[in-house]
Subunit: 108 residues, 2 copies
């Protein structure tokens, strides 16, 4: 199913949830602006109590939107600061680990 | 953070993913109509390869939207047919197990 809706999951270290919440209540304005410019729309992050993180966004082309962010300096700095919050990245960046889930149902 | 955006997770039995996908490609028209009437908007279900199911919707009041569905006969029939697909319900209905995650970030 082709869709402009994208959902991905990541795993936040359960010991660092409070810090993660606090950082995301104050995302840098230039990071927000870069996301918008790169085509990330209606973008939310949801956190489950065990550290499961769910991302949801709407975009014309997720690979293009991700590539556009990767080309920015602000994203490189942001992802470097966020990487220690996550489990299972194996040294990679959080944004590189965003694998879209399959949409199996949609109702407008 | 108060929001009209709702995200919840459930766990589908990994042995039944194909059946789950097939059922959700053919959700009963009367079930879709009941959801719309109960205020479930822009509602998607996303399935991870290990059976993690992510629901996302927009609604004015999730408890009200859930209660409105619970009052319908079509939802009772649908949830009874879906229950065997899920792990961890302890005999309950899937819709009763939809616990909203905390939204920690949003960009319009």
């Amino acid at each position: 199913m082709t869709t402009r809706r994208v959902c991905f999951t990541l795993q936040v270290d359960p010991a660092r949830l409070e810090d993660y919440r606090a950082r995301h209540a104050e995302v840098w304005p230039e990071m927000r602006a870069a996301l918008s410019e790169a085509g990330w729309q209606d973008y939310s992050l949801f956190l489950r109590e065990d550290g499961l993180l769910v991302g949801y966004l709407v975009t014309e082309d997720f690979e293009a939107a991700r590539s556009a962010m990767e080309a920015t300096d602000v994203n490189r700095r942001w992802q470097a600061e966020m990487a220690p919050f996550f489990d299972g990245l194996d040294g990679g960046r959080p944004d590189s680990a965003m694998q879209p889930l399959q949409e199996v149902f949609h109702l407008d």
